[in-house]
Amino acid sequence: MRVLDALRFRLATLFRRSEMNGEIEDEVRSHIELRADDLERSGLTRREAERRARLEFGGQARFKEEIHDAAGVTFIESVFRDVGFAFRVLRKSPSFALVSVFTLAVAIAANTVVFAAFNALILRPLDVPQAQRVYALAHAGDAFAYDSYANYLDLRNRNHSFETLAASNFSQAGLDTGENPVRAWGYEVSGNYFDTLRLQPYLGRFFHASDEHGANSAPYVVLAHGYWQSHFQADRGVIGRVVRLNEHPFTIIGVAPPGFVGTFQAFTADFFVPIVNQEQIDGANLLNARANDWVSELFGRLKPEVTPTEAAADLDSINRQLQKTYPKEESKVTFQLVHVGVANVFGGAMKAFLGGLSLLAALILLAACANLGSLFASRAADRSREIAMRLALGSTRRRILRQLFTEAILVSLAGGAVGLWASVMLLQWISSWRPFPEFPLNIPLSPDAHVYLVALLLALASGFLFGAVPVRQVLRTNPYGVIKSGSPVAMTRRITARDLLLAVQIALCAVLVTSSFVAVRGLVRSLRSHLGVEPRNAMLVETDLRAAGYAGERVPEMQKRMIDVMKTIPGVTSVGLVSVPPLHMGWNLTGVFTGKTTDMRLSNVATNAITYSISPDYFQAAGTALAAGRSFTWNDDEQAPRVAIVNQEFVRLLFRSPSAALDGYFKLGNGTRIQVVGIVQDGKYTANLAEDPRAAMFFPILQSPSSDSWLVLRSRQAPQELAAAIRSKLRDLDPGLPSFIQTWNEEMNGALFAPRVATASLGILGLMGAMLSITGIFGMAAYSVSKRKRELGIRIALGAQPRELLRAALGRAFRLLAFGSAVGLVLGILASRVLASIVYQASPRDPLVLAGVVLAMLLVGLVATWIPAQRALSIDPLILLREE
């Protein structure tokens, strides 16, 4: 606190200088009066005594200055002087200032953006009271911790660790306010949801646990604040209004507080409904289906004295009891308590990726500092004459260093400000970005105080870092030596700190370039990889039959009619229907057993197969090749024996060979025997191109009805015309049917999102790294050429050939480049292992990647040394005679 006190004192004295002057005058006056009193006592008149006292005291102005010096005011004043001087110096070399500010701005922007993402996705807790006590239940080893509702009730009622345990499930529904239904996204939540979060409604009221009286007993809906504003024009009179969700009446009872979009922050929810009314939203009552894990998130507020580990152990023991009671439905789960939010669902991979990204961004900043450090060092060398002069004139080294640091800090603050501005722009753009038009993705990247603070600290730290580079140089400056010999600082042959900095920087750049090459290559490969479907020339039509009120018998009837109508569109070669298309952001899993299994407990499950319900022509429309057997027909209905088509991975896991699989049987958990009638090629199924081969099975839509229906149309027609034709046909069928039409390629954006983001961010960082290397090498080469002009001139005069000349002038730069690139390449290959988990088939041991990196680094070297080389070659030996 002493430092702070001193600073406050100094600031206070600075801003109250006049006040202080007043105090000094008061004190001096009092002193003179006291002295005059003494003199008066020795016999002088009062007037004479005062005159004498003033004379004895001496000139007041001089003392005031000395007093100010003593009180430390000049420190602040001299800082102002330093800043002013630094401004003038930087204004005199605008290109230097611009390059430094720009370099730093780029690096700081990169770091700020990455930190903002880190901050928003991982660090920032849910915005509810005492968020640190709210924990979500995760399953060890499984990113998606779905549970059944029955299981939730048991966990809620039997645990001793949570004050309250809430459940929520993300869902969608057609919301009808009197016109045609529009699709809205929302959460089905347990009655204690808002009470667990301790949220207060913005308007109206929330529903509570006391509102739950069994299935479909609480037809209430709470609107999200944003949806209330955009779709209800912020009308305060909405409370009490009845809207229809999937054709069922719900009463609007409240509006959630602004900014609250549900616990799984990555989606923007439009509404919240009680989970007991789940049947009306989802079309089937799953409340008692213990085997069906469909509730996407359980979370609760821990009791004050319970630790997360204790709570997890409590839940595990309940799970063991449940497993004994319901061996067929319950599987072994090890619970982990994690903080609520998006990071915990995509947990590992995202944390690893963001961590890697922060590391790379930090490397960029380090490279930028190295760059600026050598820029400042060469400037200090250029200014060695000025520095020597100032030393000779009596300035202290400390004063000169302070001056240089002031310049560095000024540059770093300017760079930080520009960088922060750029990153805020970028963050705004990312936040408003909707990568999947049909999906309410919410990327809450708005910068907060933490982000600003980090940017400021980074700027200051980097200022001190690169400002420190020329310190040794200044301390060594000999005021006499520099002034005596005309040419300052001889080029030394040994490796200097600056060379080392440059080599490190080039290595960093090579790491970044390697990583981005690996990522790009992986992305290209995954685009070409075998998806099991052919997204080109295919159109997807997502329809929401539930929202339009279709149920029971009317569903398959309508599905058939839609297929028939689509076939009449000219140019459409085939039309199929599927419950959920592969590579979509959602999928269904079913546990399957071998045909001989009789004990259907979950531990005997052969595999969990991804399950689709399809129409007969689906494979043709989707472009999936049938490897053996037959496709479905409309005769595969409820009366016919249950059949399935499975993929090759399914065959590998459940049967010994394809011949054994065809016409062989497998079983579902309820004991149903199903015959395999066809085998299709493997593909990718979940929204993750990096997935390992997974078992998949396809059921005929008439045997395994599903009101989720996506139409797949294969046609060579232009997408816009086709979409228009589809829209008009659907309108003719049922104007109230919500539908969403897009090409399959567009829909695939979801699956490609992660690798694309990874590739884009690595590409940008790689580009930045390359840019920094170019400026770094350029600076070094240009500096060495200009310093060695005389030597090079002598070489030319003595008849050196251009090759020898270039070797002399730029050999060092190239050696550094080669060394740095080699180190960077090796490090980059090591770092790329992390990438493999995000970018499908990202392999650093790819000759194309290696060649690409080498080529890129060569290019960097060429670009950076081109101008200095030209300058070295064009040196006129006559300058030797002219200069000095």
Partner: protein, 113 residues
Amino acid sequence: MPENAQLLPGTLDLLILRAVSLGPLHGYGILLRIAQISGHALLVEQGALYPGLFRLVRQGLLKTTWGTSENNRRAKFYELTAAGRKRLREETENWNRLAAAIAAALAARPEEA
């Protein structure tokens, strides 16, 4: 008037601290006290006193209060802080060691010559 001793650089602070250690004093009083305790051998230039006082205040060795002098003049009184007392002790020891060393050095005679 007795002959004035030259004030060594750095000793002014020590003298001020010593003078104030005997009780709170205003600036003029400090001048008088220094003259008195040094047997009028050391005289501090009046104007040079105040920069020294301000420096010591800034270092937290002295604290100030405005009050009334013995002859009813408003004056700023200086007083030692705990840090000031500690500093005075250290400086006094230092000075005594130095003085003893210098005295010993000056008293030394050539052993053989």
